[in-house]
Point group: C2
DNA sequence: TTTTAATTGAGACGCATTATCATTTGGAAG
DNA sequence: CTTCCAAATGATAATGCGTCTCAATTAAAA
């Protein structure tokens, strides 16, 4: 469990010629200590609760910067808004299952699928830079209410 | 190469208790004779050129209906608008590679990946109802300009 | 032909995100 | 510690895709 001191967070920005403003530190710190997949509004509200006032515009701008520098991943689960999560280990890219009933997000990492994706790309002389794979359906809990054997 | 007569297109709607209006037939016919991945505005413009005036609202409504009844697939390539394609053989679900330079879309079908997706879902007691997998990067043509061996 | 519920078109509206711009500030230089 | 200015922020206007509203039209059943 990595404990990020204030200093190491500042380093994240300064190493990339970016000012380490309190607003940026607040957004980054929140994402680094959160396992959920938050959207911009949720980030705004959570910071508000902690008396950290960061304007929505700045949240969007900060997220853009963090995504550009690979500290954060931007995810689209198809519900009309983007979600964000820390990009812990970029080499072990995880994908997502999203329950269409309760919204729960389950993460998974499957090296076989990753390899096959790379293979498919190569077969088409396509240079893969990124990929997304989302499985939509019913989580185990929500599936119980939908089948006959309960 | 399936040639859809006007009559068979009407059947598509009537079989689902939907009025076979000229607007709906125009939208469906366009998609059935098109291999591209069009967005709503492109559909609107193409119909305009053919003197087929269908309002944007009706295009959206028709697409919604066609997607609901599995005649059309709705795709999100992450560029801020939805794209649509005919759903030829639902049992052989194809996925997409999207070139981030020229926008070209390459389709592929990989049964191994499909199987692994189902397996992953089962391992989490997750009922997979649908899935998306997009590979983003550079198509063969656009990659030439980006590497050193040209 | 009559009848009516479904559909359409025009435009208002919603909502996530981006752009604008005057004001503030991080941090480098001295 | 001050000075200084490009970078960053906040307030809010603007954008753009998509949905909603509602009066007028129409498919198609009777
Ligand atoms: Mn995740
Ligand atoms: Mn396709
Ligand atoms: Zn669920
Ligand atoms: Zn290309």
């Amino acid at each position: 469990m990595t404990t990020h001191g204030e200093g190491s967070l500042k380093k994240v920005f300064r190493d990339n010629q970016l000012k380490a403003t309190p607003q940026r530190l607040d957004v980054l710190k929140l994402l680094m200590t959160c396992s959920e997949h938050l959207d911009a509004e949720e980030i705004y509200q959570r910071l508000l609760k902690k008396k950290k006032n960061v304007s929505r515009a700045t949240i969007y701008r900060t997220l853009e910067v963090l995504v550009e520098h690979d500290f954060v991943r931007k995810l689209d689960f198809g519900d009309g808004r983007m979600r964000y999560e820390q990009n812990q280990n970029p080499e072990e890219h995880h994908d997502h299952m999203v329950c269409q009933v309760c919204g729960k997000v389950i993460e998974f990492y499957n090296p076989k699928i990753e390899d096959l994706q790379e293979l498919v790309a190569q077969n088409h002389n396509f240079v893969m830079l990124s990929h997304t794979m989302h499985i939509y359906g019913l989580c185990s809990e929500c599936a119980e209410g939908h089948n006959g054997n309960e």
